[in-house]
């Protein structure tokens, strides 16, 4: 079976762990629990007749307290850049992290997830920002770990891009 490494990157509290929990275990918790270190989950995804074992690396959020080790990204076939739609600052961090991915895993597929679509009326990120991201060549998917909106879609899409 093909194995592929996917890395979840983004600022703190954007919902990386929640997205993985929703995708892998179909659970969601409102409570914010900061991630320490690295957690690797696995899930087998079927694309057509091909089964792919996804190794999903949940890295701690990037902020002043914790910096992501570039070594964690090495060998990744796909990277999710997760942004919190309600916090504009997480977009800037997301864009910085794209550069880190380009340096350390230049062949990795990149998908941008704007999470918390269930709170869309509170979003700070607007259509222009999303168009801006698309213009620089990245596909943007609006997700919600809470309502499960587009979570499966995002993982399937990145798997297809990796194959």
């Amino acid at each position: 079976m093909i194995k592929k490494k996917i890395v979840m990157l983004g600022s703190f509290a954007v919902g990386k762990t929640s997205l993985i929990q929703r995708f892998v275990s179909s659970i969601f918790s409102e409570k914010y629990q900061t991630t320490i270190g690295v957690k690797i989950d696995q899930k087998i995804v079927k694309i057509g007749s091909t089964e792919v074992n996804l190794l999903i690396w949940d890295l701690h959020g990037e902020d002043d307290y914790q910096r992501i080790k570039p070594a964690y990204i090495v060998g990744a076939s796909g990277c999710f850049i997760v942004i919190d739609g309600t916090r504009k600052a997480t977009l800037d961090i997301g864009i910085e992290l794209i550069e880190t991915v380009k340096k350390n895993a230049p062949n990795s597929a990149i998908l941008i997830l704007i999470n918390k679509s269930d709170l869309k009326n509170e979003w700070d990120i607007n259509e222009d920002d999303i168009i801006g991201l698309s213009k620089i060549g990245y596909e943007v998917i609006e997700t919600s770990a809470k309502t499960n909106e587009a979570v499966e879609l995002a993982f399937n899409k990145i798997t297809k891009l990796m194959l």
Binding site: Y32, I36, G37, K39, I40, Q66, G75
Partner: protein, 503 residues
């Protein structure tokens, strides 16, 4: 000294006074046999001491210590025969008697336990040089919950004699001496191995530590692990260990991030609020501006009717009074509307203070002329102590409005035959005080009176309705000038509004 103290005094010292509280005192002879004891023995010893028995049976650390080589002798942070770390002081009272003091040091011992643990771990690694062999006993590492692996030609062999509990729950299919693919069990090693390979390639004895990663055991429990890669006499090892300290770290990090999130939310709410306030001010500004024309038109008509004596003569008294009321109310509405318009523009910052040297005398006399009609209608006296003119650096139009508003306010709240004065004092600051002999106000009212929208707006002495905006405008204009204003007032004793102008 203690030996000469009566027993009840010693007892009091030990039980009640802070430096001695909780101390266990044991007295022995020169053979270490217990003669007597006092203090909370249960805290330090597993069993109650018996007279005549050797003290080392209760405190093993004192074996062969009595008589001591020196007196006093202090043994620091000794784990006594229970879970208590104690400092043990051994003091010779005379050749046949020795006093032992056990002082609880648990808190301090706990705080340094982590450091000691680290030092001991490093010592263990150094000592492991001859001990670590595949399949051989290595109980020390097992005791520390280490999974110890020796790396041989890309094969990873478990070398523990005892598999740590967490590994049995993570990968139960493996046992001692099994060859394992470490990347299968710990995908995290794909990263750490890059660093470890670089380190091993140097072929220098030493170690490097990995980051922390989380694994889920077969019962769903999550554990934090870290690894140490070791190079020792041409051998490569990896120790994987349980990070028990991890529980403390998230608490701090979690709190810091929760605080940051709360701060971000607050900032967002503040931005939203500012935008809403701006909308409100713009709305008020537009509405009050657009209302001015129709209000002025109605006022014009009312004025025309009031002055049309021919037409008025055809009406009875009731309707004449009604027309007068319409005019009065429209005047009030226009005044309120103008203030609202002015206020909203001040809030929006739609004004600029253009300072120039202006005669204070001129400002006061202009304001007096504006207020003259109202002053006379209430028979109020007006005075000022300003004899010699002073030039002040103000925006003439705006500052005149300040004095106009303060005078209008004073007139409103001063009953007939009262007095109003404008007193000027030159000192560290130039002070202009508008003083009235009016009804005054309570402390509660005076505290919020300059905010613009006071809830405690009251009727004037002639029943004039107030908006509270006039004084709010005063404050805004003075703030823009860099001046301050104070209010002194007491109910029934009049009011004093003092403008402070830095000189």
């Amino acid at each position: 000294m203690l030996t000469s103290l009566p027993h009840n005094i010693i007892e009091y010292l030990i039980n009640e006074l802070p430096p001695f509280t909780g101390v266990l005192i044991i007295k022995t002879d020169d053979k270490g046999k217990i003669i007597g004891f006092h203090g909370p023995h249960k805290e330090y010893l597993r069993t109650k001491p018996e007279i005549g028995k050797p003290v080392h049976e209760y405190v093993p650390a004192l074996y062969a210590m009595i008589p001591p080589h020196i007196s006093p002798m202090i043994l620091n942070k000794v784990l006594s025969n229970s879970a208590v770390y104690a400092d043990i002081h051994l003091v010779e009272a005379n050749q046949n008697e020795y006093w032992i003091f056990l002082v609880d040091q648990n808190r301090e011992a706990e705080s340094i336990r982590g450091i000691i643990q680290k030092i001991n771990e490093d010592k263990l690694l150094k000592e492991s040089e001859t001990k670590i062999e595949p399949g051989k006993d290595c109980n020390l590492f097992a005791a520390l919950d280490y999974l110890s692996l020796k790396i041989e030609e890309d094969e990873n062999i478990i070398i523990n004699s005892n598999i740590p509990w967490w590994f049995s729950m993570l990968a139960p299919e493996y046992s001692e001496n099994d060859k394992i693919n470490i990347y299968e069990v710990f995908p995290y090693f794909e990263v750490f191995n890059i660093e470890a390979d670089e380190f091993w390639a140097k072929k220098e004895n030493g170690k490097i530590k990995s980051g922390i990663w989380i694994e889920t055991l077969n019962d769903g429990q999550e554990i934090a692990l870290s690894a140490i890669a070791i190079y020792l006499n041409s051998n490569k090892y990896i120790f994987v260990r349980l990070e028990e300290e991890i529980d403390k770290e998230p608490v701090v990090l979690q709190l810091a991030r929760e605080q940051k999130l709360a701060y971000e939310k607050l900032e967002k709410a503040e931005r939203k609020l500012k935008t809403l306030l701006e909308y409100k001010d713009k709305f008020v500004s537009i509405v009050s501006h657009d209302l001015r024309s129709p209000v002025a038109a109605v006022l014009g008509i009312a004025d025309m009717l009031v002055n049309d004596k021919k037409e008025l003569s055809k009406l009875d008294e009731f309707y004449i009074e009604m027309i007068h009321n319409i005019k009065e109310e429209m005047l009030r509405l226009l005044d309120y509307n103008d203030k609202l318009y002015h206020w909203s523009n001040l809030e929006l910052g739609n004004f600029k203070v253009v300072k120039e040297k202006v005669s204070l005398k001129k400002i006061i006399s202009t304001a007096y002329r504006t207020a003259e009609k109202k002053l006379k209608s209430k028979n109020l006296s007006f005075s000022t102590n300003l004899k010699k003119d002073i030039e002040i650096d103000v925006d003439m139009t705006l500052f005149l409005q300040v004095i106009n508003n303060l005078l209008a306010n004073a007139i409103k709240f001063t009953p007939e035959n009262g007095s109003i004065s404008v007193n000027v004092t030159v000192g560290d600051n130039l002070q202009i005080a508008i003083i009235d002999s009016g009804v005054g106000m309570s402390k509660r009212v005076s505290e919020g009176i300059l905010s613009g929208f006071t809830r405690h707006s009251s009727l004037g002495t002639d029943g004039e309705k107030g908006t509270g905006l006039g004084l709010g405008i005063v404050k805004k204009i003075l703030d823009a000038h860099g001046f301050t204003i104070n209010v002194k007032s007491e109910e029934g004793m009049g009011s004093e509004f003092i403008i402070n102008i830095p000189t």
